[in-house]
Amino acid sequence: MFKPTPFDRAVEAGLGNRFLRRALAHTTATVTAGRLATMAEIGGFQPLRERAAASRDRVLNRLDEYLERTEAAVLRAGGHVFWAETGQDVADYILKLAREKGVRTVVKSKSMVTEEIELNPALEWAGLEVFETDLGEYIIQLAGERPSHIVLPALHKSRQEVARLFEEKLGLAYTDVPEDLTRAARQALRRRFLEADMGITGANFVVAETGTVVLLENEGNIRLTTTLPRIHVAITGIEKIVADFDDLVPLLKVLPVSALNLKMPGYASFLTGPAGEKGEGPEEFHLVLLDSYRSQVLAEPDFRQMLRCIRCGACLNVCPVYGHIGGHAYPWVYSGPMGMVLTALARGPAACQDLLLATTLCRACAEVCPVMIDQPAMFLKLRRLAMEGRGPILTGAAAAAAGLYASPPGYDLAARALSIAGRVLLDAQGRVRLGPEVIKKMGRRRRLPRPAQTPFHRLGPEKEEA
């Protein structure tokens, strides 16, 4: 009953990794510093987040209409649209396209939706060469690892680790200078960009009115991915639709600030359809609309708001739990508060019992979310659903305990009883001294604070003066 779960082990691993903890502390502090000041400069966080949330809800509440509008616009612009129910459908479509068009090499930009559906292994297994081009993603691709942050995927890697990785995989003479490593990656990937037959990206947003795919970046790899190869495939979850350019403006303002405290990303591309045979860009454009769990989430009054998420990573950056354990501790590709909700919604709350405990309910995530998602409210609902999945006895016991604590006399009684029990069962150091062996063993990993004689809520005003 008290065996450590895989999540427990992952947490211990994260906590024990000193470099990771320093990197997390440094990264989260750096990208959050000055965020509110920047928001104030561009119009004020509260007015902007209200408009950004409204832009998202406007589409989500009429998603069918906007999906049809998007499709019509992309077709008008000369592109193709593919509707995919599952990740497998996406892979099948791309592989079919690759076979028909003689595609052998693919360059890819960082796209969380492609991580979600594990696209790369599917393409590679079928014989395609796939190159991640975002520097962080390129590093973890070479290392065979998962991203540890949705915006900064390789933050868990030291420069020495990257140096050794490039030495081994690229035959580069050892150097841990970031400029040299970046230049090596630039050179290695530039060749791939020029040879690639197909470029695959995600989409930050898709504008329904015009069928325009919006892609934000700082490196330039997305521009190369969407300009050089003759086929561009953009994969998007169905929830990333925005009605028109006016609705896009507040989102374009809050996303770069929330992600990296930048007023504008280095490059923002707005791509509408293919360039055609003579143009400066791909001959063919394909938009893939992925449902997966999204239409189910849409149906839930408590959870539809999660579809507003614009993948900025702000909630990760302020989460005290994420900040101590890092992205790899989480079981899926999404981590931090948004990861907890999305994982539980995609896999079912009952399968995510321990994950749903990975919160202090401090509400920092809800405070920084640029589209006003209330993650903690959803944690509580998901926990309830997970509990209900455990059967009537445990649910009843949990409900009874909750009921007892909810009433003042019940709380008083419980506090006194626990105070007495605590002083009987625990020794002076807070270790369990009485009880079954299994409880004593648990007590070796955790020491409980010794209860006070008088419960806190019984301490009168005299204590304050003293």
Binding site: E50, G220, T227, A268
Partner: protein, 220 residues
């Protein structure tokens, strides 16, 4: 290319979406007013604001009062790159000078502004349609062939910016961009290419140009 399988998926996805929308009545979405803007004070010097913010991005700003001035500015920029190659877009702003002559005097060879030849170039010369002062952002579009490639492949990018294209921010730029057929591709460029993926150390020139120059043309 509407495959039968895609039609089935399309129908099923839309059905599930519609069912999801019927599941409950969402609270009404407020219709907020126009987006709050960081508006520079009326009569603000947009050029000075653009310059200040552009230079913070580790990019270089130049100004030319007339075509002769522009020639001198370009020669100054390009001379250090003597022996290397350049690509030049079709943007009409570049017709203000005899580009081939300038390149010749600076000692650079001109390559075609299309792949694969363009990949060997050290510097790309482009125009720009608009410039946003508040964020120091240049707007380049596919309307002028070569603008996109020349601002992307070479390690150095030089953009000619018309004074009349300088606007306070995106809110003023969008009506101008959407008032005519939307360009097939638009890129908003804010400074040089950069990355912080290795230990959050900022490095310029990740995949795009590491050195970006904006030349403001006062007479255009």
């Amino acid at each position: 290319m509407s495959e039968p399988i895609s039609d089935v998926s399309r129908r099923r996805i839309l059905e599930r979406v519609r069912r999801g929308l019927r599941a409950f009545e969402p609270p009404p979405v407020p219709l907020p007013g126009p987006t709050p803007e960081e508006t520079p004070a009326p009569g603000a010097d947009l050029a000075a604001l653009f310059q200040k913010r552009w230079e913070i991005l580790t990019a270089r700003f130049h100004r030319a009062e007339n075509p002769a001035d522009l020639e001198a500015v370009l020669l100054g920029l390009l001379a250090p790159l003597a022996g290397k190659s350049a690509i030049v877009s079709d943007h009409p702003l570049l017709a203000a000078v005899d580009v081939d002559a300038v390149l010749g005097r600076a000692g650079l060879k001109r390559l075609a502004a299309s792949v694969p030849e363009a990949a060997a170039a050290e510097v790309g010369l482009t125009g720009a349609e608009l410039a946003l002062a508040s964020t120091a952002t240049l707007v380049l579009t596919s309307d002028h062939p070569g603008d996109l490639i020349a601002s992307l492949l070479p390690p150095v990018h030089v953009a000619l910016v018309p004074r009349s294209g300088l606007v306070p921010s995106l809110a003023q730029a969008l009506p101008r961009l959407t008032a005519r057929p939307l360009p097939r591709a638009m890129v908003l460029v804010t400074g040089p290419s950069k990355t912080g993926d290795i230990e959050l150390t900022m490095v310029l020139g990740a995949h795009g140009p590491g050195r970006a120059h904006a030349v403001l043309l006062d007479w255009v």
